[in-house]
Amino acid sequence: MAEVLFFVAALGAIAGAIGVVAIRNPFYSVLALVAHLLSLAALFLLLRAEFVAAAQVVVYAGAVMVLYVFVVAYIGGEDRPIGGPGPALPGLAPLFAVALFVELCVATLGSGLKAIDSEGAGYEPGFGSPAEIGELFLTRFLLPFEVASYLLLVAAVGGVILARRRRGLDPEADEAGGPPIAVGDLFRLGPEVGTQAESAGVVQDRRDRESRQKEEGW
């Protein structure tokens, strides 16, 4: 039974991976990645990693993929065909991939580890359960856990800074006319930056009006 499940899940994962690379429409690529992630979660379950499988489905296939779908819907457009005009690299890529695969197989399967041919060591009843993962995170791996939370905070702030609207709702103002993104932006933000008033253009309108009044000598 486990063998059948393994082959079904592995074929699903590999087919999903090929779909991500081969499909031209980015939207269908994202859907192929969702299928790939779900198959991978089944493989995790076969390896007795219950919590990681659940996190994979909820966090990855749920939240992160929704983010991708939103950005694809916002940007849209199709990719140019694979192997079209451009640098000669695409011709070499399959060769590189095959070489990498052979190399990885030699590195892992040829490593001489005896346990690779076994089904794995014995494990205690709670192996991979949320209780064990939580205990490890709060005892042996407390520092990586805290560092990961800081990393998430930094990434969230960075994402907002990168993607925020700078000049309000005027579409032409966004067009290459805005100031470039710089680290210095972080240090000279006024009190209104990042508020809803800025994104609706209220702040910019007021600045324009004030500079006009100054020019007219009020």
């Binding site: 950005v71 960075g158 966004d174």
Partner: protein
């Protein structure tokens, strides 16, 4: 199933992802291929955790998922910023830094 089978699947997915990074030109799809490579690494980590019967590899896999989420946030933020400036969404065109 022997652990070696999982490692072979992981190696195959990693190679497919690496080929995708080289072949595709849309930065969005390149990010998707990076996800493939990170997930292949996760599969190998969890297979080794099963091999040793200890939970450390699973912790490592969870941390990799956190890093992947951060990478997605920043990458998608960059892509949205590129789109806002009406630049082409194509890594071959975006080579201003190449000199």
């Amino acid at each position: 199933m022997a652990i070696g089978w999982y490692l072979a699947v992981s190696a195959l997915i990693f190679s497919i992802g690496a080929a995708g990074v080289l072949v595709r030109r849309n930065p969005l799809v390149i990010l998707l291929c990076l996800e493939l490579m990170l997930n292949a690494a996760n599969l190998a980590l969890i297979a080794f955790a099963r091999m040793h019967g200890s939970g450390d590899g699973q912790i490592f896999a969870l941390i990799v998922m956190v890093v992947a989420a951060c990478e997605v946030t920043i990458g998608l933020g960059l892509i949205v910023a590129i789109h806002r400036r009406r630049l082409p969404i194509d890594v071959d065109e975006l080579r201003e830094l190449r000199g």
